[in-house]
């Protein structure tokens, strides 16, 4: 029986209801005559505190509040891919059609997955009447998009004997495709099931993330790599390019499924993805990106309580595809807006604030969220490995990384891509500051690079970082004595660092060639610059040639090398070798002239 109470108080997104005895924490309730969706976030006696996911304008005390008996859950099944949902999984395209309005109307109830659409279901041959199955076991497949073979699983926490399994054919998601007998009870199986968003989905075992998630972004893959199943934070003040970088990750990453959560950000950014992704091709498969993407949009002007929920809705979907054995990338832009939603709700509940008004459980909520990432052996048969990689943007007020959300996030992520205002001002994108960013996966993924790209990847990566670190020191010296007082080898450091910055680290997200670099091309570019560096180094040390002589001699081919990032296509990387040879030849001539 569902609980029925009445509204006592309304304050913004918070509604307080009385006569609610029997209601459960985090139970979904319908508020007022319009049946606005809300969730119980505190209970005192028979009084429930409810955060409402829609605008509460016009609600009156005395209106009814109905319990649904269920926690906030998502529907998981075929039809998720290519959708755009709001923060509580309402499909926004359908909302548009149903309301016949350009605005998001409230009080609309819609199923998350299409009910009418027929999917072609293929059962797994080996299963017969009487096979033993458990949660996660794959019983059949459905082709969800050209890219995704949707694996239909026995819902988690169910184990028993398979009683029936339908033959190959077309079914909608409400039709029964089989049943499991558990403890003498028959449990029907459908193409979809639901799962509460605040509870992580079970898995068999967690593995070490040691395979890189290749992103095609050079500074990330080469200097600060992310692993499949890893966690990364990308903090930066406004205008530093968080969103462009996250869009880049969503576009180019070697993930099977990408879930993009626009959490309290701009409406146009979601529109951009919606317009671009059906046109852009996935570099790994050549198919439109939309065929592997799910969008969740709670833009900054949409109700704030749903912002808090959107993160959980997204990560639950991610875990669902992980359980099918896929590599999933979850991108959250921005986790700060989510934290602010927590703060707003806590404030309305009159909870005691900790730092800067945030509730004291901020850190544990952030930790819980990032902990849902990971590379796992999924539950059930057959054995398969899937991963959820999380990349979360952080928007620190005033660009100050010591504020609570950034500093807590730092404790729970293993990759930190710090965006830098000064780099962004000079339009050096991605504006990831190489001095303060880090990746704890650099060592774990090096095996993969050694095996698949080049055995000296690790050393070259370190060499490049050393040059960049040293450049920072040299610049301090320059500020005191000017460039003329520098030693020739320090001048070389400045020269090479500039090559690295302009010809390697800088990457134009909107250039057809430059936007994406596959690992071999990345290494080729890095090695080219280091080869030039080593040759000049030998020349100035052994032959006493000066840097100004060198720069004068090779300025033409060096300009070509720098432009290579956007002029040399992927299938002609030998052009880099030609340019390097040209430079080496000029250096040789310089040496002979001595």
């Amino acid at each position: 029986m569902s609980v029925l109470g009445r509204i006592r108080r309304i304050s913004g997104s918070l509604v307080v209801a009385e006569d609610m005895a029997g209601i459960k924490m985090y139970e979904v309730v319908e508020v007022g005559e319009e049946g606005l969706i809300g969730e119980v976030s505190r209970i005192e006696g028979d009084v429930a505190y409810i955060q409402v996911y829609e605008s509460t304008s016009g609600l009156r005390p005395g209106e009814i509040v109905k319990g649904t008996g269920n926690p906030l859950s998502v529907e998981l099944g075929p039809g998720l891919i290519s959708q755009i949902y709001d923060g509580i999984q309402r499909p926004l395209e359908d909302v548009k059609k149903l309301s016949n309005s350009i605005f998001v109307k409230r009080g609309i109830r819609l199923p998350a997955l299409p009910r009418e659409k027929k999917w072609h279901f293929k059962p797994i041959e080996q299963f017969k009447h009487g096979s033993k199955v458990s949660g996660g076991t794959i019983i059949g497949t459905v082709k969800e998009s050209e890219l995704i073979e949707h694996r239909i699983m026995v819902p988690p926490n169910i184990h028993g004997v398979l009683k029936e399994l339908s033959p190959e054919g077309d079914y909608n998601i409400e039709e029964e495709i089989g049943s499991v007998e558990q403890d003498g009870k028959k449990i029907p199986l459908k193409l979809y099931h639901t799962w509460p968003v605040r509870i992580p989905r079970p898995y068999q075992d967690k593995l070490e993330p040691n395979e890189p998630l290749v992103t095609g972004l050079r500074i990330i893959d080469t200097l600060f790599p992310i692993a499949k199943g890893g966690t990364a934070a990308i903090p930066g003040g406004f205008g530093t390019g968080k969103t462009v970088t996250l869009h880049g990750l969503a576009q180019w990453s070697e993930a099977k499924v990408v879930i993009y959560i626009g959490c309290g950000e701009r409406g146009n950014e979601m529109t951009e993805v919606l317009e671009r992704f059906p046109e852009y091709k996935d570099p790994w498969t050549g198919r439109p990106l939309m065929e592997r993407t799910i969008l969740i949009a709670n833009t900054s002007n949409m109700p704030v309580a749903a912002r808090e929920a959107s993160i959980y809705v997204g990560v639950t979907m991610a875990e669902y595809y992980r359980d099918q054995g896929y590599d999933v990338l979850l991108v959250a832009d921005s986790t700060s807006r989510w934290a602010e939603a927590l703060r707003e709700i806590a404030g309305r509940l009159e909870e005691m604030p900790a730092e800067e008004g945030y509730p004291s459980y901020l850190a544990s909520r952030i930790a819980e969220f990032y902990e849902r990432a990971g590379r796992v052996i999924a539950a059930g048969d057959p054995r398969r490995i899937g991963s959820v990689t999380i990349g979360g943007a952080v928007s620190p007020p005033g660009g100050d990384f010591t504020e609570p959300v950034t500093s807590h996030t730092r404790r729970f992520v293993r990759v930190f891509w710090a965006l830098d205002t000064a780099l962004a001002y000079s339009r050096h994108y991605p504006a990831i500051n190489w001095l303060i960013s880090y990746s704890a996966y650099a060592d774990t993924v090096s095996e993969w690079w050694k095996k698949n790209v080049d055995s000296s990847w690790s050393e070259d990566r370190k060499r490049a970082l050393e040059i960049l670190y040293r450049e920072n020191e040299v610049r301090e010296i320059v500020r005191l004595v000017g460039t003329e007082g520098l030693s020739e080898s320090d001048k070389l450091i400045l020269f090479t660092a500039r090559l690295l910055k302009d010809g390697f680290l800088k990457q134009n997200a909107f250039d057809p060639i430059d936007a994406f670099s596959e690992p071999r091309r990345q290494y080729k570019m890095l090695r080219s610059i280091l080869t030039v560096h080593e040759a000049i180094s030998a020349l100035i040390l052994q032959k006493g040639v000066t840097m100004s002589e060198v720069e004068g001699a090779i300025s033409d081919p060096v300009a070509k090398l720098v432009r290579g990032r956007y002029t040399i296509p992927h299938d002609r990387t030998e052009e880099f070798d030609k340019i390097v040879n040209e430079i080496l030849k000029k250096l040789e001539e310089l040496q002979k002239a001595r």
Binding site: R8, R9, I10, S11, V16, T56, S57, G58, L59, R60, P61, V95, K96, S101, I102, F103, V104, K105, G237, F238, G239, R266, G267, N268, M270, T271, L274, E275, A297, T299, S300, N301, V304, E340, R343, G347, P353, G357, P397, G398, G399, D400, Y425, S426, R427, H428, R479, L480, G482, T483, D502, N508, S555, D556, V558, A559, V562, R563, Y566, T567
Partner: protein, 467 residues
Amino acid sequence: MSRKGKRGIAGILESREVERIRGPLLFVKIASGVAFDELVEIELSSGEKRRGRVLDISSGVAVVQVFEGTTGISTTGTTVRFLGKTLEIGVSEDMLGRIFNGLGDPIDGGPSVIAEEKRDVNGEPLNPASRAYPKDFIQTGVSAIDGMNTLVRGQKLPIFSGGGLPHNVLAAQIARQSVVRGENEQFAVVFAAIGIKYDDFLFFRKFFEETGARSKVAMFVNLANEPAMIRLMTPRVALTLAEYLAYERDMHVLAIITDMTNYAEALREVSSAREEIPGRQGYPGYMYSDLASIYERAGRVIGKKGSITQMPILSMPNDDITHPIPDLTGYITEGQIVLDRGLYNRGIYPPVNVLMSLSRLMKEGIGPGKTREDHNDVYNQLYAAYSRAQELRSLATIIGEESLSPTDKKYLRFSEAFERTFINQLPTENRSIEETLDIAWNVLSILPENELTNIRPEHLQKYYKKS
């Protein structure tokens, strides 16, 4: 006399029990039936009427925010009427050419407006699936904007300014010169003045009159000496008209909103009167969402001809861009135009700090067929070179210019020319995008060709001026 708790004629509910008055807030005893966010009329014992809205409501007490302020209101003799609706304004195309107060009532002595439609001033969030991505280049005739931070139709691009800087002149210049080339469509300007000085208002009114654009402009005015609480409604009232004109009347609307800093201060005032837990510098924790509910009311929509382009103006307290108001604004808007006191003092107009400025929607609005094929490379190169030049300039002040290399010295010359000839222009000067890009090539050609690594060889060949 109507009884407490029962709706009278036209759904009006009345109470005479004002329990407490704190700042702009009234705490009114009421039985039940009052709605959250409902519009309220307050009648003082003198017969004067004021308006307000419900901010918080529990079964015993409604918290009412009084727009015109609580001065002169007493706990006795005051009648509070709950009007059974949220704040609505009547909208009509006839509102163009008129002047209104901050709540949408005419103050120009003209007749009252016959509304074609009534709309809730709070609006509703645009469905992201209904939006169309803005990509039509607007030529403002200002090089620092067109060349470096291109504005597109449907964008929200604020001007971050400071006291005494010429943001009004720049906003007026943009309003006067803006065109989408090759088009001759219906346009309108909606102007919202939030707590500004009377002479700022006069400047804009005179400007709209002199340019003959008066009949295309609707002005909503709340001056510095008028009640602060109205400031919370003024931008919403103005944008409600803007939405009507854009999405029902197919007009391209430019919404100029000045000064958002006054808006944020009014928001803080209400928040502290409600004794809410403050966020940074006393501003409420929900200021981000609140500002977004204004700024996000811009854009283009699939299947609709019209658009709303927003140009809010805000003054940065102490010229500090990290202050919560510009900071949160920058996180919501699609870029920012930052005015710089240093440039202003050196006589550069418009004093746009191009490095700190940004247009997020630029990339879709420029390039072949839109501006020119070299635009992308040129602006990238200008940014790279100008920021390098700024670094060298600060270095030169320490170690002296003579210690710089010949190439570095060229960067200094480039930067000087960039500021003097590219950024600097007259408030009446309307440059085409071709003129802007040609000036850009003039200054870039001060640098050696090999330094211009952001530019494709084919563009260099065509446009670079070899000395």
